[in-house]
């Protein structure tokens, strides 16, 4: 356990220090959401309707963009070699890395959601629903995105390739995340069903993600 705690602590600290760029994701989220009204127009009724979808898309893109460095930074400085040689199973090390990433990149998005909800004219209930679905759904984005990040390391390519690989995988999360928030905001569907599915998706990705990422890292040994 000390090994995993040490890894989480290190990743969080590196992200928060100068050059870490932990908060760039949330800044990107803010910018993307602010851009939306310029495209669709400042019609408050329309924005209210589109609000949950805009917030979810913004969060999806923001958490995807920051995933790029998840394994790449460790590959570049040689840390990945030592992680592979440690007595901690690689799967657990992947869980720790994803968790650390979620803490510095996923959680701030949820914290920023209420302010953005205000800009998009969402009422308290709808904003709360979006924040809650993001809380349940962003771990799924991180853990499935981690598979793409591991593949990107294997292929020594990052950036857009990662996006192309991961975006299709995150479609289910997007569907049920937006469905649950829309249900809470406007009805008529119930909030519970899509939300439970969203939680189930998160839990499943919590299991599948680390195994797939670890397998991909091992395959990509070079």
């Amino acid at each position: 356990m000390t090994a995993l705690a040490a890894l989480i602590r290190r990743d969080v600290r590196v992200a928060l220090r100068v050059g870490g760029g932990a908060l760039i994701g949330v800044l990107f989220f803010l910018t993307v959401v602010v851009l939306m009204p310029f495209a669709v127009g400042p019609d408050l009724a329309l924005l209210k309707k589109l609000g949950p979808a805009i917030l979810w898309l913004g969060a999806l893109l923001a958490s995807l963009l920051t995933l790029d460095r998840l394994f790449m930074a460790d590959l570049e400085d040689g840390s990945l070699d030592l992680i592979l040689m440690s007595r901690t199973p690689l799967e657990l090390a992947c869980v720790a890395k994803a968790l650390a990433h979620w803490l510095v990149a996923g959680l701030p998005l949820i914290v920023a959601t209420p302010a953005l909800g205000l800009l998009l004219n969402l009422d308290g209930a709808a904003t709360g629903a979006v924040a809650l679905t993001l809380l349940a759904g962003t771990p799924a984005l991180t853990f499935t995105g981690m598979i793409g990040a591991a593949l990107a390391v294997t292929l020594r390519r990052g950036g857009l390739l990662l996006a192309v690989l991961v975006l299709p995988l995150s479609i289910p999360v997007l569907i049920f995340g937006v469905a649950a928030s829309q249900a809470a905001a406007t009805g008529p569907l119930s909030f519970g069903t899509p939300f439970s599915i969203l939680c189930a998706l998160s839990l499943a990705s919590l299991v599948i993600g680390p195994f797939a990422a670890a397998a991909s890292l091992r395959q990509g040994l070079d």
């Binding site: 870490g20 760029g21 908060l23 803010l30 910018t31 310029f38 400042p42 019609d43 004219n121």
Partner: protein, 245 residues
């Protein structure tokens, strides 16, 4: 004390510690007068007592642009005149400017709630300030992304100047976008018909907040100079072999 003499960071530190107490005193006095005048100002016939929000909103909105102007001059100082304190001034101003811009947004939003019935309206003014806020945050992110201040300085200077040129274009575009979508005109603050009863407290508050910015800016510059001094000392320490002491 000319600008050339100020180029020496040690001189700047000396000057800063001499000037800061006076600046603090001036800021406190002017802000106190401003606050008193704002409290005793009459209600506006249109806005009622909410006009009081204007006394803090307008100075913050003014500063949000003024600070960017200060940063642009500093950016020129970095790129053209190679003034050694220019990038210190620019870096120190960014978080303060962001804070004032944030306050301009929040006070504007709190004024808008009773006036418009909503906290946020995609009004041209507010929206432009929101974009300015995002640009401040981006600039701060740029400073944080690079460990070496001298390397970050040039990139930040270019970004600041590009921002200075772009802000009017953004403002124009947002105005156009806004009028395209919104037929009815929202209440416009300011204009030439502002009553003296409001104008004087507003001016005093604006002067007070500007003094506040200058004080904070000089203090933050002093911190930044010390931070860089520590950095170079630490590099010196790292380069030295261990001493027997």
């Amino acid at each position: 004390m000319t600008l050339i003499e100020l180029a020496n960071p040690s001189r700047f530190l000396a000057l800063a510690s001499r000037v800061l107490p006076w600046l603090v005193a001036a800021t406190v006095i002017v802000l106190a007068i401003g606050l008193y005048q704002s409290a005793t100002a009459p209600d506006d016939y249109q806005q009622g007592a909410t006009v009081k929000i204007m006394f803090i909103h307008v100075p913050n909105a003014w500063l949000s642009m003024f600070v960017w102007a200060v940063m642009s001059v500093s950016a020129l100082g970095t790129l053209v005149w190679r003034h050694p304190l220019a990038d210190v001034a620019q870096k120190a101003a960014a978080p303060i400017g962001a804070a004032f811009t944030f306050l301009a947004l929040v006070t504007g939003s709190l004024w808008g709630r009773p006036m418009w019935g909503t906290y946020w309206e995609w009004d041209a003014r507010l929206t432009s300030v929101l974009i300015l806020f995002l640009m401040y945050l981006g600039l701060m992110a740029l400073w944080r992304a690079v460990d070496d201040p001298s390397r970050a300085a040039r990139a930040a200077a270019v970004l600041t100047l590009v921002g200075a040129i772009n802000i009017p274009i953004i403002k124009f575009s947002v105005d156009w976008w806004n009028t395209l979508h919104q037929g009815e005109s929202v209440f416009r603050m300011g204009g030439p018909t502002l009553d003296r009863a409001f104008l004087i407290p507003l001016m005093v508050m604006a002067v007070g907040f500007t003094l506040l910015f200058v004080t904070l800016h000089i203090a933050a510059m002093r911190n930044e100079i010390l931070r860089r001094r520590i950095r170079s000392l630490q590099m010196l320490q790292a380069g030295k072999p261990r001493t027997a002491a």
